[in-house]
Symmetry: C2
Subunit: 217 residues, 2 copies
DNA sequence: TATTGGTGGATACACCGTACGGTAGCGCAC
DNA sequence: GTGCGCTACCGTACGGTGTATCCACCAATA
């Protein structure tokens, strides 16, 4: 089997899933494929294009669920698929919004959501549509990034309890005990029980309602 | 002048402003300071902590404007200051949401926005507050990241017109001319004239209205 | 058979973050 | 005054990265 962009992207994704984006290198991918490092450059211009390739593979899976008859169902499906993809491939959230997503599957997802939003009530002209797309993407990107970051710190606290207790824990508790951040302290202490998915849904509903109600012309 | 965390952070920020986060290295900072690379490790544990330091310096400037009597004024001021900071220091947007912001000034900003939101109508309990903070941060992070990314690609198209025309331009136009992405094409062609700041304001207003109207219990 | 073209590979370079060992200087005990 | 110990500083070195360049081999053609 002669090595292809798809194969390269697939093993790159596997390695990134396992060791994160920082632990991903062309040499490791090549070694995993039993090939010299330079062979990859026959299929990919540079590391950056490899990342774009990986991103578009993920978008392909998101695009699969982006066809519904009702506009709101489409938007919700894309949003949830994006969140699920980012939770499956945490490196994806590191790349979200950091570079333009111009791969064919990314464009397909963009088309699906834009087409759906264009049918939402309250979205009248192309300007409304542009703003709606912007707001929706912003909320998805921001929420997903935030959730992945939280999950990472929680995990690093779990697996490396000693390090957490020794470094961040005391610092943070000391900070909160200064009394200068009472609201943050309340949030940290009392607000840990919320379900992440429900929060995501809530934020999504908030912005969608804002788009459709559209009190500003 | 004996070298300090502040001096290191300041020159690091200057270098990152000039050459981006990828062009930033401990060695270059050290050389800029006329010092061996290892001297930095007397003031900073690793590169990651240096980034945290830089981030908190930026948050210090944001925190300056975070005191207003009216909750909505506070939120708007913080949001705009964050956007302005990201446009001044584009690397800041790369770090937004990618790691927990736990520096003292970041906590101060978080406290100010949380305290403000807790006084917004429609925010009743701690759960409401947590969700509101999440939604607001998500929209700010997402919108700012998106804007910075757009600005970068626009700039790279401007300065390196040849490369743009040769690589991305044809690819994108070819993609759009396939007719598979009609809505996206319409957005790209007709929707370029919107003012970025106005879009930001609009998205912000959308989510704030969503928070205050609060149609979901 | 001789030549040529292209494909896969190894080597090399510049740079990165950072671990480590040595050294030089200063303050203190006697 | 003299010796000692300790601390702060510094250069060097290691393992890793992305990527450019050159080289060897092998197939197919003249």
């Amino acid at each position: 089997m002669p090595l292809s962009r798809e194969k390269i992207a697939a093993t790159a994704i596997r390695l990134a899933d396992a060791h994160g984006l920082d632990g991903l290198s062309l040499r490791k991918i090549a070694k995993e494929l039993g090939v010299g490092p330079m062979r990859l450059y026959d299929y990919v211009i540079n590391r950056s294009e490899l990342l774009d390739l990986m991103v578009d593979v993920v978008y392909a899976r998101i695009a699969e669920v982006s066809q519904h008859s009702e506009w709101r169902a489409t938007v919700l499906a894309v949003a949830h698929a994006t969140r699920a993809a980012a939770l499956d491939h945490e490196w994806f959230s590191d790349l979200l919004g950091g570079r333009p997503h111009l791969g064919p599957h990314a464009l397909a997802v963009g088309e699906a959501t834009a087409a759906a939003l264009s049918q939402a009530p309250g979205v009248r002209g192309i300007d409304d549509l542009q703003r709606a797309v912007g707001a929706l993407n912003a909320v998805i990107i921001g929420a997903v990034r935030r959730e992945v970051t939280e999950r990472r710190t929680a995990r690093s606290a779990g697996t490396d309890e000693a390090a957490w207790q020794a470094s961040l824990g005391p610092y943070l508790t000391r900070m909160l005990e200064t009394g200068k951040y009472p609201t943050v302290a309340r949030l940290v202490i009392d607000g840990a029980h919320l379900d992440a998915e429900e929060t995501f849904n809530h934020n999504l509903a908030t912005v969608l309602d804002g788009i459709t109600s559209h009190p500003h012309t």
